[in-house]
Every structure is written in C-alpha cells, then in structure tokens.
C-alpha cells in the first residue's frame, strides 16, 4: 500500500470520525441547550480542521520517511486530481440538493434558522471528504498493483 492510498484510508476513517463525532455532539448541544459558545466553537474547529486535514498525509510522509524516496508519482497525482474533482462535483450536488430540499420541506413562505447554515457546511465537509477518499480508493483498486514505492 503506497502513501497516497494510506492517506485515502486515513481520510476515510479518521477524517469522518473527526468531523462526525464533534459535529453530532455540537448538534445535540444546540438541540438540547440552544446556541452557545461551545457548539459554535466546535463548528469553527471542525471547519478549520477540515481545511487543514489535507496536510496530514504529507506531514506524516515527511516525518516518517527519507526525502529521497518517491512517494507521489504522476499516476498518484492523476488519481488525486480526479478524486478531488469527483468530491467537488458531489459537494456541488449536495449543496443544490440541500438548498432545494429545505425550500420544499419548509415551503416558499416559511423561514429557517440560521443555524442550518453551519450544519450544511459540516455536511458538505463530510461529503467532500467521504467522496474524495472513496474515489481514491476505487481508482487504486482492491489489489496492490505495484503500489509499493520501496
């Protein structure tokens, strides 16, 4: 298993857990006690964490291995680009679906709480990470077809 593939698995499990667990806890706090500093802080933390999460595979790669080893070739780059594009398309579809579904459920004359917006953003982060990781894993395939860079 090469480094980008390991990164995809890391994204897939650790990323989802890191977004979902604090996100669900924050939603429960908002639902139970109303909006306060703690859930807003948690949402901000999740967004910052999501924004910086892509650094982790590179950081681990730099710390763990020598600099002379090849860890990211053209094929990995192509797979990464395609996976990011698939993630973006899924994010876009999710955004449109979220807007239209909320409009249909509440009705054209209704109103929705502003707290829905950070929740939508959280959902977008989860979906983007999930789809990107899944697309990477699907493109690498199941078996190790020469993915060892050793």
């Amino acid at each position: 298993m090469n480094e980008p593939k390991a990164g995809s698995w890391l994204y897939f499990f650790l990323g989802l857990a890191c977004f979902l667990i604090p996100g669900v806890v924050a939603v429960f706090i908002v639902y139970d006690q109303g909006v306060s500093f703690i859930p807003v802080f948690m949402f901000a933390g999740i967004v910052i964490w999501g924004g910086l999460f892509w650094l982790f595979p590179f950081t681990f790669g730099k710390l763990g291995k020598g600099k002379k080893k090849v860890s990211f070739d053209e094929r990995d780059q192509l797979i990464h680009k395609k996976a990011v594009m698939v993630g973006y398309v899924a994010l876009w579809l999710y955004f449109v679906a979220a807007c239209v579904i909320a409009w249909c459920i509440v009705g054209p004359n209704g109103s929705i709480s502003v707290n829905v917006m950070p929740l939508t953003l959280l959902g977008g982060l989860v979906i983007f990470t999930f789809v990107q990781s899944l697309a990477s894993l699907i493109q690498y395939g199941r078996g190790g077809k020469g993915e060892n860079h050793e």
Binding site: V35, V40, V47, K81, V84, M85, Y88, V89, L91, W92, F95, V96, A98, C99, V100, A102, W103, V106, G107, P108, N109, G110, S111, I112, S113, V114, N115, M117, P118, T120, L121, G124, F128
Partner: protein
C-alpha cells in the same frame, strides 16, 4: 478564437446581460409600484439563452474534424477545478457570514437557499469562463479548431 473561447464569451455576456436586465427591471418596477414581481421572469428569460449554446456553437461534424486537443482539454479541466475550488470557499464564506451577520437566534426566509444555489451556479460559470479565457490568453496562438 476556438469553440471554447466563444462559449466562455457567450456565458459571460449572457450572465452580465441577465444581471443588468434583471436589476433594471426590479429597480424600475419598485420605483413605479413599490414592489417587484417581474424580476424573476426577466431573470429566467435572459438566462434561458444559455440553453441555446449547443445550437449556436455546434461541434465540428465529420470524421476529420478535431473537436479539441490535449491542450484544450487540460485548459477546461483546470478551469473547472479552479471554479469548484473558488465555489468551495464562497460556500464556506456565505454560510459563516450569514450566520455571523444575522445572528444565531434569528432565521432567514427559505427563498434564500434556492437563491444561494442559483448564485453559486452563476458564480461557478463566471469563474470557469474567465479561467478559460485567461488560460488561452489574449492573442490567437493557433486556437482555431
């Protein structure tokens, strides 16, 4: 100027015309009646011109004709990637700004959400078209297809 450049220019012109015509219609109607209902119709009618792209800019027919080469497809992919990336930041900013400006205990009309989706689509189209035009550059470097 090749087909993709023409499409990009067409997108930009139609979107600019939509914004100008809709704003003018809303402003005039509000000035006359103090409320506006026809702005949406102007918006949809002008934006519907984008659907005529396949008829206005047809792909070259025939086996010998080249639709696009590797450079064109690379430019399109980069433009799309750039458009999606900028949309992601706009999405984050719009969600947080709405939350911060209006306040956590308030609510917004549901029509805001479809408007955000339409605004996002227009924004992506504008960024993608501009990115295509910028990548091709100003002068014609063999862009005829």
């Amino acid at each position: 100027m090749n087909r993709y450049q023409k499409l990009a220019w067409f997108n930009l012109i139609v979107i600019a015309a939509t914004i100008i015509i809709t704003s003018a219609a809303i402003a005039i109607e509000i000035h006359i009646r103090e409320y506006s209902t026809t702005g949406l119709y102007f918006f949809v009618a002008t934006l519907a011109l984008l659907k005529f792209k396949p008829f206005l800019f047809k792909k070259p027919q025939g086996g010998n004709k080249v639709v696009c080469d590797e450079r064109d497809s690379f430019i399109i992919k980069r433009a799309l990637s750039f458009a999606y990336t900028t949309f992601w930041w706009v999405f984050i900013l719009s969600c947080f700004l709405l939350f911060l400006i209006i306040g956590p205990r308030n609510s917004v009309p549901t029509i805001t959400l479809p408007l955000m989706a339409i605004g996002g689509a227009l924004f992506m189209q504008i960024v993608c078209s501009v990115a295509i035009l910028v990548q091709y550059g100003r002068s014609g470097k063999g862009e005829k297809s």
